[in-house]
Amino acid sequence: MIPIRYNLRSLMVRRGTSMMTASVVALVVMILFILSGFVAGLRSTVLSSAVSNNWIILSRGVTNEGGSYISRDQYEIIKSRTQIASSPDGEALVSPEVVTGFNPAPDEPPSKVIFSLLRGMYPVGYLVHREMKVESGRWPAHGAAEMAVGRKLASRFHNLAVGSDFKFGRRTFKIVGIFSDHDSARESEVVTDLDVLTQDIHMSSGFQVLHVVLRPGLQDDFAQSLTTDARIKVDTMPEQQFYAQQTGFVEQLHRMGLVVALILAIGSIFGAMNTMYSAVARRTNEIGVLRVLGFSRFNVLTSFVMESILLAFAGGVLGEVLGIVVAYATGLHSQLLNVSSFIFRFQLTAGAFVSGLIAAIMIGGLGGLLPAWRASRVRVMDSLRAI
C-alpha cells in the first residue's frame, strides 16, 4: 500500500486548491449539521411531552387534541376503570382537558404573533402531568380566572410575567405562575382552570381529551377494556405514541432540508472531482514512478480515493466546527426558535456529528473514484516519457 503520508504531503503541496475543496465540503456538512440540530431540537421538544405510563384518550379516529370530543358520560365511565392509578388521596389520576388557541400578544400586529395553546385542566392535571413543575408563583386555583404560563412562552412574551393581567375572551385573567415541563412542547402553552375556560369558549357539555396515569403492567388490560365497551367510542394510546405521531411535520421539514443538502452535496462531489482530476493530471509521472517501484494499479486507485476522502474528511471536521460556531454566534443555541406554535432550542446530537462526517466521507469517496480510476489506468511507459 502506498503510505498515507504521500497523500498528506501531496495535499499540502496544493494548499490553495485543497483548502477550497475542503471548504466546499465543510459548507455542505455545516448545513447538514445545523439541519439535524434544528430537527433534533424540535423533535425532542414534541416527544418529551410524553410521560411513561401516561396514556391519552381521544374520540375515535381523531389524531389531534383539538378535534376530539369526550362527553361527560364517557368521562365518568372511563374514570371508574380500575387500571387507572390514583393519587395518595385516593383520587383517580384522570385529567380531562380542553385546548384552544391562544394569542399571547393580542396588541401586536398580526404578522408578529405566534399562536400558542391554552389548556384548561382541573388541579388533578398537575398530578397526571408529573413533569410539570412550578418555577415561580403557583398553579391557577380551581374556579378562578388565573393562568400559569409555560417557561418558553414566558421568556418570549414579557407581558406574561407573574402578577400581570391578561384579557382573554370576556374576562381578565391573572397570571399566577410560570411552569416548566422538562423542555417539552407544553412549555409553550398556557394552562388555566377548565371550568373557567369552558365558559369562555362556549363548550360546556364535555371535554376534548383525557390524559390518564395507568398502574404499571395494566396497559393492555386498559386498552382492551375501552375497545370492548360499547358505551364509549374512543381511541387510547401511550403518550409516547401520540406525541411521536405529532412529529410528522418535523419529518416534512427535515425532508425539505435534506433535499437542499443533497443537491449541494452533488455539487460538491463535482467540485471534488474537478480537484482530483487536476491532481491526477498533474502527477502523471509520479504515478509512473509509483508503478515502477512495484505498486499495483489497485494500490494507485486506493491511494487516490484515500486522498480524496482525507480531503473531504478534513472538510467535514471543519464544517462541524463551523456549524457549532454558527450555532452559537447566531444565537441558535441560546435563542428560542419557533415553528408553528412550538418553541424550541437548537440541539447538538451525536447523530448530527456522525452523519456529518459520513456525508463528508461519501462526498470524498464518490468525488475521488473516477479520477482515481483514471490514475490507475495510467500507462507506465507514457508517464515516464513525460519526465
Binding site: M20, S23, S111, Q252, G271
Partner: protein
C-alpha cells in the same frame, strides 16, 4: 468581439470535463437558489396582492379559530360602507386517506359579490345553485389531486363525528392567493352537520366583508368591532393582507432560514467555481506569458479569461434557472403549514435574477486567480514551476 468568442469557446473545449463539471455545479446551485428565493417571495406576493383589495376579514376576538355567528352579516350589511358580506365555515376533511387533507371553505352565494375579482362565471354560479353538492376548486389543489371538472368525490371529516360528504366539481378557480381552495355550499355543510347530530347553530369561522371604497376600509373595520363590543362574540377585524400575513407568520423563522441557506448556496458555488478557475488559470500560465510576449495587452487576456468564466456561469445558470421555472411556474402547494393559502411559485423574474446571480458569481470567482495571473511578468510566468 467575435474573435474573442471563438477563442473562448476553443479554450472551454480544451478541458471539456472540467468545464462540464463546473457548469453542472452552477446549474444545480442556481436551481436550489431559484427555488429558495421563491419561498419568501411567494409569501410577500401573497400579502402584497391582497393589499389592494377592499376586503376585511372578521374573526372572533378571543382567538381566530373561535366561532362567530353567521347572522352578523345581516347587521354588517346595513353598516355604511359595506358592499357585501359573506360568512365562511371551514371543514377539515381528507380525501382517500389521511395524507390527502382537504380544507373545505363553505360559503353562501354572496361570495361572488365579496370576491368579484375571482370572476366566477355565470355558468359556474348557475351550476352551484342547481346542485348543493357543487364545489369549486383552486387550480393548484386541482392539479395536485389530479381532479377535473365533473368529478364526483366523497370527503371524510377529520373531527368527530367524521361526517362524509359528497361533492361534484363544477368549476375551477385560477388565482394565486387561495390556490388550494375547496369552495363548497354552506347550507349543505350546515344540513350535514345537523344530520350528524352536531349542535344546530349557524356558526361561521370568519366573516368577510367588501367595502365600497378604500376610504371606507378603516372606519368600517372600526365600526364593526365597536358594534359587537360586549356581545357574546366580540370581533377583531383586519384587512385581507393583514389576515394573510398573520397566517404566514405562523410558519416561524422560515424567512431567516431561507436567506441563510441562500447565502450558503452562493458561497459554496463561489468556492467551487473559484477553484476550477484557479486550476484553469494555472494550466494556462505559460500560455498567458506567451501571449503577453507576443504583444497582447493585459486587458485582452482578461477578456479572454473572464469571458470563459462568464460563459460557464451563463450556460450553467440558464440550465438551473430554466429547470426551476419549468418545474415550478405552475406553483406547488406548501401544504397544511400555510393553512391552505400558500403556494410556492417561481416567476420568470426570479429565474432571471437567479441567472444573473449565477453569471456574477462565476465572474467574481475568477477575480483572484486571473488578476494574479495577469500581474506576473511574462518572464516570471515562464520560469514558474507549473
Amino acid at each position: 468581439m467575435f474573435k474573442w468568442l471563438k477563442l473562448i469557446f476553443r479554450n472551454m473545449r480544451r478541458n471539456l470535463r472540467r468545464t462540464a463539471l463546473t457548469m453542472m455545479t452552477i446549474a444545480l446551485a442556481t436551481f436550489v437558489y431559484t427555488v429558495l428565493v421563491s419561498v419568501p417571495a411567494s409569501m410577500d406576493r401573497i400579502e402584497k396582492d391582497a393589499s389592494g383589495t377592499l376586503r376585511l376579514f372578521i374573526n372572533n376576538k378571543t382567538a381566530p379559530w373561535e366561532d362567530l355567528p353567521a347572522r352578523y352579516c345581516d347587521q354588517i350589511n346595513k353598516m355604511p360602507g359595506a358592499a357585501a358580506c359573506v360568512a365562511m365555515t371551514g371543514w377539515f376533511s381528507t380525501w382517500r386517506n389521511v395524507s390527502e387533507p382537504i380544507f373545505g371553505a363553505a360559503v353562501g352565494p354572496e361570495i361572488s359579490d365579496v370576491f368579484p375579482d375571482y370572476r366566477m362565471t355565470h355558468e359556474d354560479q348557475q351550476s352551484i345553485m342547481k346542485d348543493r353538492r357543487s364545489a369549486i376548486v383552486g387550480n393548484v389543489l386541482m392539479k395536485k389531486m389530479g381532479w377535473k371538472v365533473g368529478d364526483h368525490l366523497t370527503l371524510r371529516g377529520t373531527d368527530t363525528p367524521h361526517m362524509q360528504m359528497e361533492f361534484i366539481i363544477v368549476g375551477t378557480m385560477e388565482n394565486k392567493r387561495y390556490p388550494n381552495t375547496f369552495l363548497i355550499r354552506r347550507d349543505y355543510l350546515m344540513e350535514t352537520r345537523k344530520a350528524n347530530g352536531l349542535p344546530d347553530e349557524d356558526i361561521a369561522w370568519n366573516i368577510i366583508v367588501r367595502a365600497d371604497s378604500a376610504s371606507d376600509l378603516q372606519p368600517l373595520a372600526k365600526g364593526i368591532d365597536e358594534h359587537f363590543t360586549n356581545s357574546d362574540y366580540e370581533t377583531r377585524t383586519m384587512t385581507e393582507s393583514d389576515a394573510l400575513a398573520s397566517g404566514l407568520s405562523q410558519l416561524g423563522n422560515i424567512r431567516g432560514i431561507v436567506f441563510a441557506l441562500c447565502a450558503v448556496v452562493v458561497l459554496t458555488v463561489l468556492l467551487i467555481a473559484a477553484n476550477s478557475t484557479a486550476m484553469m488559470v494555472r494550466d494556462r500560465l505559460s500560455e498567458v506569458a506567451i501571449m503577453r510576449t507576443l504583444g497582447f495587452g493585459r486587458g485582452s487576456i482578461a477578456i479572454l479569461l473572464f469571458g470563459e468564466c462568464g460563459i460557464i456561469g451563463l450556460v450553467g445558470g440558464a440550465i438551473g434557472a430554466f429547470i426551476a421555472l419549468w418545474l415550478l411556474k405552475g406553483g406547488i402547494t406548501l401544504g397544511a403549514a400555510l393553512g391552505g393559502n400558500g403556494a410556492l411559485w417561481v416567476t420568470p423574474e426570479q429565474a432571471f435574477n437567479a441567472w444573473f446571480v449565477a453569471i456574477a458569481v462565476s465572474i467574481v470567482s475568477g477575480l483572484v486567480p486571473i488578476i494574479e495571473a495577469l500581474r506576473i511578468s511574462p518572464a516570471m510566468a515562464f520560469r514558474k514551476v507549473v
